[in-house]
């Protein structure tokens, strides 16, 4: 089965123009920016890339555009989550044909399936292609739906291309249990930190990191990632704390805050699509002053 070590994965936003359409020209610039600023792979469109607000046609077009733009510079992980297993499997097949290097899937939207149904869902999608298959464990984004180490154990047995978990549960016990077991059964099985809180996952054995904040602070993100990969975990604490502070500033406002912060950094990607609202004036003011107070941003790249 194909092996992919995604490493430091940037997760680009999706830029929209004033008429609400995808601003492909800006997207091209954004992809180039990520490549030039430390990304080893891209995952798109993740939730921060407003995957759920894109039509099926747009998602496919976006992926095709990204793969063409990136050429052989860095690999693309296609996010193919959907509510329905068959719809997601269809997206996965498209991703493979379009040239994605891997697929990434979270629990089905809206439904609250028990473990057996989750396994069926993941198997239906994972078996649809030969691409490496990553599960995105994000209970915070998925109304509490989470995967367990037991579920992963079963999936390893059922899916030869199940390559790893991108963890946003931030749950130490889950990560430890997963890494105690899965890599023994499947050598090369990967734990990837789902956000820029990488020190603890790295201690546990994570080899990669998803980084939405790379849109704002790619240098600090890369520094944290490099220190973690070199197992310099004590040394990584200062950059970890700064990125945790940045994450806290952005988190409440989500994609609206991230896009606002990108505008502050000179990389305007428009506003989020409905139903997400742009930040209100007061929140925007607070965010801008918080960002100005974060010293690290002064050494981050401005503009494209």
């Amino acid at each position: 089965m194909p092996v992919l070590t995604p490493g430091l994965v940037h997760t680009p936003v999706t830029p929209f123009s004033h008429d609400g359409g995808i601003a492909l020209e800006v997207y091209g610039k954004l992809l180039d920016f990520h490549v030039a600023n430390g990304a080893q792979s891209l995952a798109l469109p993740m939730h921060i890339g407003e995957s759920v607000s894109l039509t099926d046609g747009e998602r496919r077009a976006l992926l095709e555009f990204a793969v063409a733009r990136l050429g052989d510079r860095i690999p693309v992980l296609a996010h193919v989550s959907e509510s329905g297993s068959a719809i997601a499997a269809e997206l996965a097949r498209h991703a493979e044909k379009a040239g994605a290097a891997a697929m990434i899937v979270t629990t089905p939207y809206y439904w609250t399936p028990p473990a057996t149904m989750l396994i069926e869902h993941f198997v239906a999608i994972g078996a649809a292609t030969k691409l490496p298959f990553f599960i995105y464990n994000a209970p915070e984004e998925m109304q509490g739906a989470r995967i367990t180490a037991d579920l992963c154990r079963e999936l390893v047995a059922k899916l030869p291309n199940f390559a790893g978990v991108v963890d946003l549960s931030l749950d130490w016990q889950f990560m430890i249990e997963l890494m105690t077991d899965a890599p023994r059964v499947r050598p090369g099985f990967q734990l990837i930190s789902g956000t820029e809180l990488m020190v603890s996952p790295a201690a546990i054995g994570a080899t990669g990191m998803f980084a939405p904040l790379a849109a704002i602070a790619p240098r600090m993100v890369r520094e944290l990632y490099d220190l973690c990969r070199a197992e310099k975990l004590f040394e990584a604490r200062p950059s970890q704390e700064q990125l945790a502070a940045l994450r806290q500033s952005i988190k409440l406002g989500g994609v609206a805050a991230l896009k606002a912060a990108m505008r502050v950094m000179g990389r305007d990607c428009g506003e989020p699509r409905a139903p997400v609202l742009a930040l209100e004036a007061v929140s925007l003011q607070r965010l801008v002053s918080e960002l100005e107070a974060i010293a690290l941003l002064h050494s981050e790249p401005r503009g494209w």
């Binding site: 749950d171 130490w172 016990q173 249990e177 020190v199 201690a203 546990i204 604490r237 945790a244 502070a245």
Partner: protein, 296 residues
């Protein structure tokens, strides 16, 4: 740091001689501090009089060899206050207190509680943050900062969220206001916490495998991550084994290690013979019998 279980005789009454032996065992096998009675010590199944009696025994037996802190959390805050004053009177080195039970208190209520507790005694006070057991009630980073500013003896936290973001929220807030604030994890999650400023943990498995616990702590403090990882996987696997009806299975495992401490008080079950033999085979699989002390 070890938090001993509470030994009972077959009729569920306190077994003081075994408690004394257990304390001594922990001190001899590398504990850096003793703290009693955590939930693992069945604190909430003990009367206030029993808690005072064994607290006195703990201070007496440890006899200054390592620090002793007393866990004072009780259902009634008035009992908590009484236990805190008692701990100070008998010469304990500090107390530990969780956010109040049952009422799902608001942040101002939690603040008022710790202010009252810390001002009632001069001992260092360690707080205990356990949102997953207390309906999400937790001490936020901002509240930690406020408590540190207001209370000179607000000295640390037993953190039991076991979550990267929660830990960082608290560590960033607390260590910037008080650099020697003690960040401890509830059970042995040393590997993910020590690189972020953690300084230790309480131990779940220390009465089974004290050597393993000490080795994990040393490997983390030395930054030997590959070794720490192997040890952490092992310790965390034991936590999975023991956390079921905690501390019933742990007490069952102690029988296998030649250190029987009697039953668990209801409503918790006592580990059955079947459960005990399951634990035995798991301990064998992990090589615990070869590397850890048997008997007292």
């Amino acid at each position: 740091m070890q938090s001993p279980v509470t030994p009972f005789t077959d009729d569920f009454s306190l077994d003081l001689p075994t408690f004394e032996r257990l304390l001594d065992f922990h001190v001899r096998t590398g504990a850096t501090a003793i703290s009693w009675p955590h939930h693992k010590g069945e604190s909430l199944s003990l009367t206030i009089a029993e808690r005072k009696l064994l607290a006195e025994a703990a201070v007496r037996v440890v006899n200054g060899r390592i620090p002793v802190t007393i866990h004072v959390s009780a259902l009634a805050v008035e009992d908590t206050m009484e236990l805190a004053r008692h701990a100070q009177k008998i010469g304990a080195d500090g107390i530990l207190a969780i956010t109040p039970y049952f009422w799902t208190p608001s942040l101002p209520a939690i603040e008022a509680y710790f202010v009252r507790l810390c001002r009632a005694i001069e001992l260092p006070v360690l707080s205990y943050n356990s949102p997953s057991y207390l309906a999400g009630v937790e001490i936020t980073g901002a509240l930690m900062s406020r408590l540190i500013e207001r209370l000179p003896n607000f000295a640390g936290v037993k953190e039991a969220s076991f979550n990267s973001e929660k830990f960082l929220e608290i560590s960033r807030a607390a260590l910037s206001s008080r650099p020697d604030f003690a960040l401890l994890t509830g059970v042995e999650y040393l590997l993910p916490s020590i690189p972020l400023g953690g300084v230790g943990s309480y131990s779940a498995a220390g009465s089974i495998c004290p050597n393993l616990c000490s080795q994990l702590y040393d490997a983390c403090m030395q930054g030997d991550w590959p070794r720490a990882r192997e040890l952490q996987y092992k310790v965390s696997w034991l936590w999975l084994l023991f956390r079921d009806q905690y501390p019933s299975s742990l007490k069952g495992g102690m029988v296998m290690m030649g250190r029987p401490v009697g039953p668990t008080r209801p409503p918790l079950p006592t580990a059955s013979k079947q459960r005990q033999s399951h634990i035995r085979s798991e301990l064998e699989r992990l090589g615990i019998f070869d590397s850890e002390p048997h008997g007292w």
